[in-house]
Symmetry: C2
Subunit: 294 residues, 2 copies
DNA sequence: ACCGTCCTGTGCATGGGCGCACAGAAGACC
DNA sequence: GGTCTTCTGTGCGCCCATGCACAGGACGGT
């Protein structure tokens, strides 16, 4: 059963009873309608209509087609209105992806967004690999740094996350607290293993301390944080995660040059939709109140 | 939502994930698929797919279309197989029409046919007007005489119904019984009112007896029969309805020249179907055993 | 009985959709 | 890294579906 347009033509003929009426509704010439019917009947090997000079009357097969196509037309009409409307409504899925380190900043934003728009189902994806917006894997991505982006992605700066040098109390008890970066000799540090890391504070650390002083290295950000908190050495933590935390001592306060820029990335096609726009506004508004960010 | 073919194209793209794959399944060039998608998205004002070099991935709207079109394709496939199969199977409606006078001959035929093919629903229509086969009002018509027919109707002789001259017992008691047609003087007759009636015996009667002898005339065959049975006069009855009936006396036995030919009429399109062919065979077979017919 | 209207049906010319070919890009595999 | 494959995307030329015009037939009203 190929060629759905011919079914639609036959449907209108069966509904209206005349070729001319169907042609007018369909916006085509009545000769086209006749040809569609002929082709469809020839392919089916059965008569759909009894032809006479005053119109076409549906046979039993034609009435069967009528009822089936009737529901089809209704289904398509509903589908059309859903799709046409969905770009203008804030509903359906909203897929957000980000690095894992800011999950506790983003989660309340997404929860309040979902409360504001109950028709939205939020999916929050964090994974090692970067999700590809042009594959439709996510509507909105929050990413760190300023890496290269796909040409069809629209990028907006969100905020800057301050980072400082911190140590755990057990480390301070054993090795003391350096007064400044001139006092780093003999101290142990925690740093990202990947030399190509984009984080500005890690590049600063590698440039400042001797490689032998890096006592603990890891690739996973969560592992680095865990190492610092357990006293493996002095290391960078996001200020919003370190300030006020019991057992965490500030070694050097955050500096502007250490701050990690966060950027919002969306695909250009989805960027225009009301749903994404609503979330972007909600996110930017919430980010203004984030502690230790600018 | 016009142009159902584009929906079908988008459906295959959503199902297979690539334009090329959809093009192969649809049997068209992949450029055509791209144009269909573009046109559909432009008309809907929303993106159905995220395009990338390895294929198309459906957006939420695309997945919605996928599920709707999925059921549509199944519905159409079922419809197609139903229509393709119905020409070969003996099922569905069978509409039979005839003059009312032979209903008691036809009814057992249709009942046994319905018992033989339980999937058939029989509708038997009798009405003053002749039903038009080219309007699809009936599959099979059993008609009397040899009137003109539509060009697309196929006509087959069925049998000849013998008619004789009969009188009711009350009439015989009052007016006696003529020995032959030479003895008709002083007798009263029942005849069809319409002078143009096609029945051969009525034309014979009008040519044989004086107009004043026609004591009772009616247009409706059932009214004529009723008049004869109630003693209004001598009149023609179908032999199968008169022979053996209590209170009915034979005036003149049936003659070959008085017999009414019955013919089967079907529309050429429906004539070829197995259902109609099965009924025609069943009808002809039954007609061989009809009493007082040839 | 005639005419008007509306319908189907068909030959012919045109235009739009289709296939073709090629370019470009991105994975896949060695 | 290099090559092969696969897929998207676009300009061009052609062909088929479409629109057009007209003929023919049926029904209704005057």
């Amino acid at each position: 059963m190929e060629n759905w347009d011919e079914i639609r033509t036959a449907f209108q003929v069966a509904r209206l009873g005349t070729v001319s009426g169907a042609a007018e509704v369909l916006g085509v010439h009545h000769a086209t309608v006749i040809r569609h019917i002929d082709a469809l009947e020839r392919r089916l090997g059965a008569k759909l209509f009894q032809r006479h000079a005053r119109g076409y009357t549906a046979t039993e097969a034609g009435r069967d087609l009528l009822s089936v196509a009737q529901t089809t037309e209704e289904q398509f009409a509903h589908l059309s209105s859903r799709i046409k409307g969905q770009g203008e409504t804030v509903s359906g899925e909203l897929v957000v992806t980000s690095i894992a380190g800011i999950a506790d900043l983003l989660t309340p934003v997404m929860v309040s967004f979902q409360e504001k728009w109950p028709d939205v189902r939020v999916r929050f994806l964090t994974d090692m690999r970067v999700f590809r917006l042009d594959y439709g894997e996510a509507h909105v991505a929050i990413r760190a740094g300023s890496g290269p982006e796909e040409p069809d992605n629209v990028v907006q700066p969100l905020t800057r996350i301050s980072s400082g040098l911190y140590a755990a109390q057990p480390y301070v008890d054993r090795f003391g607290l350096p007064a400044s970066e001139a006092d780093f000799a003999g101290h142990r540090f925690v740093c990202a293993d990947n030399e190509m890391t984009r984080a500005p504070f890690h590049r600063w650390l590698r440039a400042t301390v001797h490689p032998d002083q890096i006592a603990y290295a890891a690739t996973e950000p969560a592992a680095l944080e865990s190492a610092v908190l357990q006293g493996a050495g002095i290391g960078f933590l996001s200020a919003f995660r370190a300030v006020g935390r019991v057992g965490v001592v500030e070694v050097l306060p955050p500096r502007e040059e250490w701050a990690s820029p966060l950027r919002i990335v969306t695909h250009v096609d989805l960027h225009r939709t009301r749903k994404v726009q609503a979330f972007l506004a909600h996110l930017k508004d919430a980010a203004k109140d984030w502690p230790h960010c600018s």
